[in-house]
Every structure is written in structure tokens, then in C-alpha cells.
């Protein structure tokens, strides 16, 4: 393909054709219509599911409006995270400073909503106009007796990944502040699950059946008090490693708690996630229970999957998602359905992720970092994909080209993790690929 911007050509490789390592982790090229967002976005999506915290966006109105109730992260209790609060800065504050408005907004919101803690997200212009957000947060912390944490997530100050780091930094400040709670022996934290469509509840139930207790999930169905005692767990189990590895490493450094990376998508990875935890606790009983659980779940699931596999065998898929770890699981899950991945890419993958993808995929698969609509549409055409898996921004590209689309982003309403999720995934892939409407596209 000739149309890849020169600056981006080393961010695309084809397995079997290109030997060079893929370039990644770069800032997006100006004018390239990247599918990425910004630093603020990274922080916001990670912390968003903490349901009993106040999330206040300090800046003009846009950033808050576009992230109102943006993820399908469910809460079993408070719903405060689903409200969008902003200082809605106007020209007056841009000229004279936004600190007084931020202070007043925090005080009134805390008085009215009584959150367990507050996160204040600084957006692009806050630093430029010279607001000392951290000073305001310290003052409100003193006055209101709850932690008010400044997230200095000015959009231009790096990439979405830097936003993840900032979010992890804020969580890190909370962890360890509850010294009194006692947790059971076999306790873990789940990192990087956001309880989309209730997925966390499913996973926690699997672990419970094995005799494993969850102290905190960061951040799905998250609660501030759980985060505070997260240092009492024995192990951190990390999904969405792109966003949460920073935190896992930080906890390891501070408290000596090891972590393992897992994925809950697809049968293999899901089962491994359970076995690995059982092995970590070196408990035969737990391993036995995990085996029983997997056997039980698979005996229900596999016959169901066969029906779909029969119709999906040999179809080709393109994947473009936020994190590369998810892409890896998807390649495996598709294989279970008899499908081949012909294009795979992510917004924020790192070198290891891409190497793994290259290993995993068949010859001729296009692997891409930080792609854009032009490239994606071209790749899809080139490879003759039958299905596209991505998020909201990729959907119309697929649909306009008459291609099935499976939504694997954070707005989804059907659980895709776990065994149940695998069946939902098969159903969705099946509905996307086998709908009769594609006949009209000819």
C-alpha cells in the first residue's frame, strides 16, 4: 500500500514479509486522523469506574461532555461515577484563573454528594493558565476530610498511556491507607478489569468458586475503601496490562506483592487465568477446584460453540482495538471459532505485545500500531476480511464497506469475558458475519 504516511511506514509490518520490528509507542503524526485520544482520556477511562468517588473535570466544557457515562462499567452500589462534573471554565476564568471556581465546585459537590474521595482531572489549558490544582486539592482535602487527588492530565502532555500512568499514580496514593482491615488468606486484587457488562462479577465468582477472595478490583465496580486496603492481597492479577502494569509494578516495589498478567477473553486464556492463580497459591485443592470449574464450564460451552464454528470456519477477521493484550486474546478466541486473523492492530501496544502477535498470527497477517481510517479500510480491502472487531470509531468504516462488525470496546452491553462471554462473543461474531443483509452489498 502506497498511502501510508511516510512517518508511519515502520508502524506497519506484514508477517512473513517484513523482518524489522514494528515501531510503536510514538506520538501520533499530526494530521493523521489517529484513532487515539489523549492523556486526559487515559486517566479518565481508568478511574471512571470507581463508583463512590467524585470525578471533577477542570477545564472548559468539552472534555466532560464527551466523557459523560462513556463506559459500560457497572456498579453494584453507588452510581456517582456516571455523573459528569466540570468546572466548565469560561473566558473570564481563562483570563483571571480557575482556582476559585475549582475550589467552590469541589466544596459544593462534596457537600452535596458526599463522595468517598475526589479525583480532579486537569485538562489542556489548566496548566497553561497557571492554576495550581494540587494546592486547591490539598486545601479541600484538609477542609473536607476526604482525599482529593489532582490528576494532571493535560491532553497534550504525552499519549493516552501517560494518562494511564497518572491514574495509576493516583490509585497508588490511596493504596496502603487502610491499615486496620483484615483480609482472608487467599486474596488477590484484580487489576485492569472495568466491569463492562458485569464481567467482573462473573470473574470474581469463578475465583470465589476456587476459594480465592478478591480484595479490590481496580477499577471495575471500584470503591475507594477497597483500593485503600489493596496492599493486603497476596497477588495482583492484571488484565489490560497496557493500563495497569504501572500500578502492579508500583505495588510490587512498595509492598512486595507479585503480579501476573492474564486475559479473560477466550477459553484458553480464561482457563489459564484461573490455573495460574491456583498455582501461585500452591494449593492442590484450589487447582482441583479450578479444573472442576473449567470442566463444568466447558462442557456447557463447547457444544454450543460448535454450532457457530460450523458456519464461521475459514472466515477472516480484522482486529483494531485500544490495547494489544486484548488483541492477542482475540486472535486466539477467533481461532477457536475457526476464524483467521488477517489484520491486527492497537492504539497503544508495546514491542513485546507486537512480537507476541507476530508469533501468534499466520503468514501474511498485517500488524499495525496507531492506525487510522484510511489505512484500516485499505487493509481490510487488501485482505478480504469478513469481520472487523473494534470500537465505535471503527464501526462505520466496517459498515460502509459492507463488513460485519463486532464491538469490543468499552461501551459494550454484552459480557465478552469468561466462558459465558465466549459464547456471547461467538453469537455476536456469528450475527455479524452471517446476517443476510450483506447480500445487498453486492
Amino acid at each position: 500500500m502506497n498511502d501510508i504516511l511516510k512517518e508511519r511506514q515502520n508502524q506497519v509490518v506484514t508477517k512473513g514479509k517484513d523482518d524489522a520490528a514494528i515501531a510503536c509507542g510514538k506520538a501520533s503524526v499530526a494530521g493523521s486522523v489517529s484513532q487515539r485520544a489523549c492523556v486526559f482520556c487515559g486517566s479518565r477511562v481508568v478511574l471512571y469506574p470507581i463508583a463512590d468517588a467524585l470525578h471533577l473535570i477542570h477545564g472548559p466544557v468539552g472534555c466532560a461532555a464527551y466523557t459523560w457515562d462513556i463506559r459500560g462499567s457497572l456498579s453494584s452500589g453507588p452510581q456517582l461515577h456516571r455523573l459528569s462534573f466540570t468546572t466548565d471554565l469560561k473566558e473570564k476564568e481563562v483570563v483571571f484563573g480557575g482556582e476559585p471556581k475549582l475550589y467552590q465546585a469541589l466544596i459544593s459537590l462534596i457537600d452535596n454528594y458526599k463522595p468517598k474521595a475526589a479525583f480532579v482531572y486537569a485538562t489542556c489549558i489548566v496548566g497553561v493558565i497557571g492554576d495550581d490544582v494540587e494546592a486547591v486539592c490539598r486545601r479541600v482535602t484538609r477542609e473536607k476530610g476526604i482525599d482529593v487527588l489532582a490528576i494532571m492530565s493535560e491532553g497534550f502532555n504525552g499519549t493516552k498511556k501517560d494518562g494511564y500512568k497518572l491514574a495509576c499514580g493516583a490509585l497508588s496514593k490511596l493504596i496502603g491507607t487502610d491499615q486496620t482491615s483484615i483480609v482472608p488468606e487467599h486474596s488477590i486484587n484484580i487489576l485492569g478489569d472495568f466491569n463492562l457488562a458485569g464481567e467482573l462479577w462473573m470473574l470474581a465468582e469463578y475465583y470465589r468458586r476456587m476459594g480465592v477472595n478478591m480484595v479490590a478490583c481496580m477499577t471495575g465496580d471500584g470503591r475507594i475503601d477497597d483500593v485503600r486496603k489493596a496492599h493486603k492481597a497476596k497477588l495482583n492479577v492484571v488484565q489490560c496490562s497496557g493500563s495497569m502494569t504501572y500500578l502492579a509494578k508500583d505495588i510490587e516495589d512498595k509492598y512486595g506483592i507479585p503480579f501476573m498478567k492474564v486475559s479473560y477473553f477466550g477459553i484458553e486464556d480464561m482457563s489459564d487465568a484461573l490455573y495460574e492463580v491456583a498455582r501461585f497459591f500452591k494449593s492442590d485443592e484450589m487447582i482441583q477446584k479450578a479444573r472442576e470449574l473449567v470442566r463444568e464450564e466447558l462442557s456447557k460451552l463447547l457444544p454450543e460453540l460448535q454450532k457457530y464454528r460450523a458456519q464461521l470456519e475459514g472466515k477472516k477477521a480484522a482486529i483494531y482495538v485500544g490495547g494489544a493484550f486484548k488483541a492477542i486474546s482475540l486472535v486466539k478466541a477467533l481461532r477457536l471459532l475457526g476464524m483467521k486473523t488477517v489484520v491486527v492492530g492497537s492504539q497503544t501496544g508495546n514491542q513485546d505485545d507486537y512480537n507476541l502477535l507476530k508469533e501468534l498470527c499466520d503468514e501474511g497477517t498485517i500488524i499495525v500500531d496507531d492506525s487510522n481510517p484510511n489505512e484500516l479500510s485499505e487493509f481490510v480491502k487488501q485482505t478480504g476480511a469478513n469481520l472487523f472487531i473494534g470500537g465505535v470509531k471503527e464501526r462505520p468504516i466496517a459498515f460502509k464497506l459492507g463488513l460485519g462488525f463486532c464491538d469490543h470496546n468499552h461501551e459494550r452491553k454484552e459480557a465478552l469475558a469468561g466462558y459465558e462471554g465466549m459464547l456471547n462473543f461467538a453469537k455476536e461474531v456469528h450475527a455479524s458475519v452471517c446476517s443476510p443483509v450483506w447480500k445487498f452489498m453486492k
Partner: protein, 481 residues
């Protein structure tokens, strides 16, 4: 941690209460009922043929806006970003701006580039017009696209201000004067693609040559494609924008437009000039400003104006549509009379909807907008002669204020975009979705609001929603209404 907090010190309620009054827009905005200016500018730019918008700011702005628009229009919406870094913020976004222009040209070969600024680039004082001149000087390309640049910091006004600013900028930089032609300019405002199609059909039926600006009836509502179009077909051609200066007259839909005096936009400054005003001042193109043609009165005004300007009579088709609409008003009047509605969203849509509800006997209990023109109240009172004293009109409102108002005042129906669904759900109030955005249903781009048939569709929907609500909540259920 500054002050380590023990966990039992903070008070916590499991479900948060909704404080009534007292809080709100004065301090924090809670669930904003408005969007930021570059979004509006992007939509307007999408309505110019061959135009690729570039948002001069951080990558997130373009991506968030794309995602927001895609969720409504269900179409690819390519918007480039100049992708600010820390260096651009400190030393100026010139280099990024030039790189973005160059990369957009090489990828898209656009006829037009529409540049919209952001809070960031405006705050650091970037001069986009200067960068564009700079690019033109430096470029060795034989042909260059047309450039339109709109000043759209999100701390001034809302997406509606951004929309009108982009339209006005297009006209200011491209329109030419000359001998008066037969054609009319129509500035439809931020309506749906279906509305634009409806207005075009009306003008075709009148056989009046016309220029619609912007026209995203195709670009944001494409048919299926055989191959991917980097730039979707359709949009107002640049040649037409040039001819705006020699039009016989302009019709400008909406009466509030970007005339807001609050939140930093000052009356009479250049940013509050609309395209039609500029054409009137610079080229003597007479401007007819009127509310959106929604409701019989507003439609009559629109059709009569078309007839009067063109000297042509109103086509029979529309006389019949009008007749059918009034016939249905009669059929349905009892089911709507005295019902209390909350109307919310963009100010000009709120004015038109209120005036329509007013003429069918629905009481507009609350007319609210996140817009900050400070003119909503006057306009509503002007166009709602039937129940003026009862209406509560609120500029600068957010959804939580609407929510709290609804808890206290128990309205019968909500009419506006999809974002108030959570209020409707919690309080069990029927909701009729219209305007922008519609994020939880399909077909937002095909909702028709304007003309007698647009009014008809809304009327049927509102009345059926009310009838359905009563039927669903009746003890027996029934088969005749």
C-alpha cells in the same frame, strides 16, 4: 498523601441524593447540556464539499468529537488533529499545524481544509491564519486547497457558536460579490441531514435556485459504498459559497444563532456576526431571519417568505401537507391539551419546538438549554403566545438542573435529545427524542424536524408517546384510544 485519611472518617451514602436547587451552574456544571465549539465547527465543515476538518489542538479533541459524532450519525467522520505536544504548547503550534495540513493534503487531497481552533491553541495565542499563509508560502504544491479557519475556543459559547462561526468564516473567506443572481442563500443552522434534504426538496418544488450552507445531507448520511471514500461525496461546493455574495436574498433559520452575549462572546464583535449578516453588510444581500420551520406558524412563515421572495406561489403539495397536519391537530388535540412538557437542547431548536407545542395546546413547563445566549427567554415569549406566563425558561442549564426541576414539577413529557433518557427512566416520564445527539437509538440523522411533514412526524410521535404511556399505565389496557 497530603493528609492521610483513615477510612472511617469520611461519611458515605450508598446512593447519592439529588440536592434540589442551590448548586448547579453557578459553581459546577453537572451533566452539561451543551458541547464545545470545535464540535459545531466540525459539523459545519463536513457540509462543505471536499472539506476535511483539522482541529488545531490536542489529539483528544478530534478523537472525542469524532466518537461523539459517529455515535449520532453512524457514519465515518474523519477529523484530523494537529496533535499538540508539550513543545507545541510552549513554543507554539506552528510546526504541528503545518505538518497536519501537509499530511491531510497528501492523504485526502481535499478541496477545502477547515481549521477549527481549541481552548488550548487559543489560550497560547496561536495565529492559525498566519500559519496558513505560512504554509501557502512554503508549499511547492501546484494546487492548494481552499482554507477556512474558525476561531472556536471551548471557553466561549457552545457547539452552536462553533457551528455558526465556521459557516460565517466560510462565507467571509470565500464569498464574492457581483451581479445579483436569481438564487437564494439558505443557512439552515444545526439541523439533521434529513432536515437539509427536506429543505432542498421544498426549494426544488418551488423551482427556486438556491445555495444551502452547510449541506451535510450526504456527507453525514451516506448511502452504502462500494469502496471506501476518504472524503464522502456531497456538500456545498466552493463555487456555490462564492456565489453567496450575489444571491437575491438569504434565509437564516434560527433567531438566536451565535448572538450570545454570555460566556465571553460579546455582542457585536466579529465572532457574533452570522454568515447572512455578513453578506447583508458586505454585499447587500437581504437577510430574512426566522425560527426553524417547525410547527404550522413557523412553517407558514418560511413558505410565505419563499413565495414572497421568489414571486412564486406555494406548491399545492405543501398546501395539502399543511392541511393534513392541521387535520391531525384536530384529531389529536384532546390527548395533548394541557400536558406539561420539558423542552431542552440547542436554543434555536428549543424555541421552535416550544412554539410548535404552544400551538397544539401543550404547555411548555420548562424550556432549557445549556446555551448561554441570554436571549432564550425573550425568543420563547415571542414565539409562544398561548401560555407565555407559565413557561420557565432557563439559559445555562445542565441536565442535573433539569433532573431536579422534573423531580419537583413532575412534567408529562420530555422532548429533546437522547441525553435526558436517564431522567425519563428514573422518573417514568415519556421522552420523545429529537435534535442532537441521539446516542441510544438508530436513525438520529434521519429525524425530520422541519416542514409540515417534519412537524407531522414529531406530532404523531409526541401524541402516541402520551397515548401509549396512558395505555401502558392503565389497569385494563384497551384496544381503542
Amino acid at each position: 498523601m497530603e493528609t492521610p485519611i483513615s477510612k472511617d472518617k469520611s461519611t458515605h451514602t450508598n446512593s447519592f441524593s439529588h440536592p434540589s436547587g442551590g448548586l448547579g451552574g453557578a459553581v459546577a456544571t453537572r451533566n452539561a447540556c451543551k458541547l464545545c465549539a470545535p464540535l459545531g465547527a466540525s459539523v459545519a465543515f463536513k457540509g462543505i464539499r471536499g472539506c476535511v476538518p483539522i482541529i488545531h489542538g490536542g489529539q483528544g479533541c478530534a478523537t472525542y468529537i469524532r466518537r461523539y459524532l459517529i455515535s449520532h450519525y453512524k457514519e465515518p467522520v474523519d477529523i484530523a488533529s494537529s496533535n499538540f505536544t508539550e513543545e507545541s504548547t510552549i513554543f507554539g503550534g506552528g510546526a504541528n499545524c503545518l505538518a497536519a495540513i501537509e499530511n491531510v493534503i497528501s492523504q485526502y487531497q481535499p478541496e477545502v481544509i477547515g481549521m477549527a481552533t481549541t481552548c488550548l491553541s487559543e489560550t497560547i495565542g496561536d495565529d492559525v491564519k498566519f500559519y496558513i499563509r505560512n504554509y501557502k508560502d512554503l508549499s511547492d504544491r501546484e494546487t492548494l486547497p481552499h482554507f477556512i479557519s474558525a476561531s472556536t475556543p471551548s471557553y466561549q459559547g457552545s457547539h452552536i457558536d462553533g457551528f455558526h462561526e465556521a459557516v460565517a468564516s466560510a462565507v467571509k473567506s470565500i464569498a464574492e460579490g457581483g451581479e445579483k443572481g436569481e438564487h437564494l442563500n439558505i443557512f439552515p443552522g444545526f439541523v439533521s441531514p434529513e432536515d437539509i434534504r427536506q429543505i432542498k426538496t421544498i426549494l426544488e418544488d418551488f423551482t427556486i435556485p438556491s445555495i444551502l450552507l452547510p449541506d451535510y445531507s450526504e456527507t453525514l448520511d451516506n448511502p452504502i459504498w462500494e469502496s471506501y471514500h476518504r472524503i464522502p461525496e456531497g456538500g456545498t461546493p466552493i463555487e456555490s459559497v462564492k456565489k453567496c455574495g450575489s444571491a437575491r436574498a438569504s434565509i437564516e433559520l434560527g433567531t438566536i444563532l451565535n448572538k450570545g452575549s454570555l460566556s465571553g462572546r460579546v455582542k457585536n464583535n466579529a465572532l457574533a456576526t452570522t454568515a447572512a449578516e455578513y453578506l447583508q453588510e458586505s454585499f447587500g444581500v437581504e437577510n430574512h431571519r426566522m425560527p426553524l420551520p417547525l410547527g404550522v406558524n413557523n412553517c407558514d412563515h418560511f413558505f410565505e417568505t419563499l413565495s414572497q421572495i421568489s414571486g412564486k406561489s406555494i406548491p399545492m403539495k405543501y398546501t395539502k401537507e399543511r392541511g393534513r397536519l392541521i387535520d391531525s391537530y384536530v384529531d389529536g388535540h384532546k390527548y395533548v391539551f394541557g400536558k406539561r412538557a420539558v423542552v431542552y437542547g440547542e436554543e434555536d431548536l428549543v424555541v421552535a419546538l416550544s412554539s410548535f407545542l404552544n400551538e397544539i395546546g401543550i404547555e411548555v413547563a420548562l424550556a432549557a438549554s445549556g446555551g448561554e445566549s441570554g436571549r432564550l427567554e425573550d425568543e420563547i415569549r415571542k414565539y409562544c403566545p398561548e401560555n407565555t406566563p407559565e413557561i420557565t425558561v432557563q439559559n445555562g442549564y445542565d441536565y442535573e438542573m433539569i433532573h431536579e426541576w422534573c423531580i419537583e414539577n413532575k412534567p408529562d413529557i420530555l422532548i429533546g435529545n437522547s441525553k435526558a433518557y436517564y431522567i425519563a427512566r428514573e422518573l417514568d416520564i415519556p421522552i420523545v427524542r429529537c435534535g442532537f445527539p441521539i446516542h441510544d437509538r438508530i436513525g438520529g440523522q434521519r429525524i425530520k424536524h422541519v416542514g409540515y411533514t417534519g412537524t407531522q412526524e414529531l406530532f404523531d410521535q409526541i401524541i402516541n408517546e402520551l397515548i401509549g404511556y396512558k395505555q401502558d399505565h392503565s389497569e385494563v389496557g384497551y384496544k381503542y384510544m
